[in-house]
Amino acid sequence: MKPPIFEYRRPATLNEALDLLREYGGDAKVLAGGQSLVPMMNLRMVHPEVVVDINRLSELDYIRLDGRTLAIGALTRHQALLESEEIAKGCPLMSEAYRYVAHLPIRNRGTLGGNICHSDPSSEMPAVLLACDAHIVVASHSGVRQVAINDFLLGPLQTVIEPNEIVTEIRIPLHSQDEGWAFKEVSARQGDFAMAAIGTILRISGGEITRASIAVVGMGDRAARLSGVEQFLLKQRVSKSLFAEASAKAAELVNPDSSHQASAGYKRSLVETLVARTLADAAGRSNA
């Protein structure tokens, strides 16, 4: 399965890249890791006229601490994030989620920026970023804007990015030491896209839940926060029965489609199971 013809441009700087996007607009596709884009091109599901290869933009490949914010350059490879001590400390939910992401050769090339721009509903990182209340920095020649991740993701393969824009950075509030976290996923095989996944962050003070952030993968057009469950949990005292009730609530709140691989009923039960398990693990990890 060979890709269709395209013109190739390889900018050396972000500015050059933005020049090209301004020139070609909707006719162009940005090529970062290529682990999502190239299969689609090989399958001839997309036919960009111009491919803008941004792999030389080393200026977008970094992990930095910016006060109480983790700043990750959009071109940072998944594997670098998986191996990073800063991520392990600063966003342990991401580190744990990376256990489920693809395989090493894919992670060696794939980038965080590319992944969220692709916005695959079954992908893990959008959920991690949602749970962490991340912001996405988007640049064009008209300027730079920051978009909350929840506003950034629109649906499958759709984000708010305009044709003349590039994602440059992902900004994540630093993990707080007193918070617990857990990410769990069920996929058909190890490394496959999620049939369902949950990313959970809990802060518990004196036995009471003061922060609950739960993101779900695989239940709709895009990853989403289970705000109904979060509201239910806030200010409640931690207990097994509370978590059981929260999990049941989560299963009711989601509205998955049935597919050959997984019925709606099964997906709901996965949500219930994974919410219960992540709540238990997150509670265990929090310094309550």
Binding site: K2, P4, P39, V51, D53, H103
Partner: protein
């Protein structure tokens, strides 16, 4: 159609070529450089049969365009060893029956090389994790893992009993 000039180093040898942008790296290696050891299994990044090392890390060559490899250092199975002088990995695969049809084997060898280059003494779990990125339809994987374990021993100069 515009061709793009690229320079790549493959198994230590420098090549300068002009290629169409859409030429996949897997096809470039096989057709332009006549290096047939890298195989093609799916062309959508799942099976791993086309896996090579680019700048020291494993990569699906079917998911890269040759133009992207410009300036890069590529390693394929042809660079590992020859029949006269097999790489410890190749020796070990033979000894442990880590291949049957051989089609996934170059990729298995390359991810194993990546592992051993970084970590000459991998644990059983680390070897399993490395191999798990590639599909094999013949062996059931067990003897591939055993081969990598043996290769680690051989490479570190350890002796072993042929079992």
């Amino acid at each position: 159609m515009e061709l793009v000039k690229i320079t790549v180093t493959v198994n230590g040898q420098r090549y300068e070529r002009e290629v169409p942008p859409r030429l996949l790296l897997s096809d470039f290696l096989r057709e332009d450089l006549e290096l047939k050891g890298t195989h093609v299994g799916c062309e959508h990044g799942v099976c791993g049969t086309c896996t090579i090392l680019v700048d020291g890390v494993s990569v699906r060559s079917c998911l890269m365009f040759a133009v992207q490899a410009d300036g890069g250092k590529i390693e394929t199975v042809e660079g590992l060893g020859t029949v006269e002088k097999l790489h410890p990995l190749q020796q070990a695969f033979r000894e442990k029956h880590g291949l049957q049809c051989g089609f996934c084997t170059p990729a298995m060898l390359m991810v194993s090389k990546e592992l051993l280059d970084r970590n000459p003494n991998p644990t059983h779990e680390e070897i399993r994790e490395s191999i798990s990125s590639n599909l094999c339809r013949c062996t059931g994987y067990q003897t591939i893992v055993e081969a990598v374990e043996l290769a680690a021993q051989l490479a570190s100069g350890g002796s072993h009993e042929r079992t």
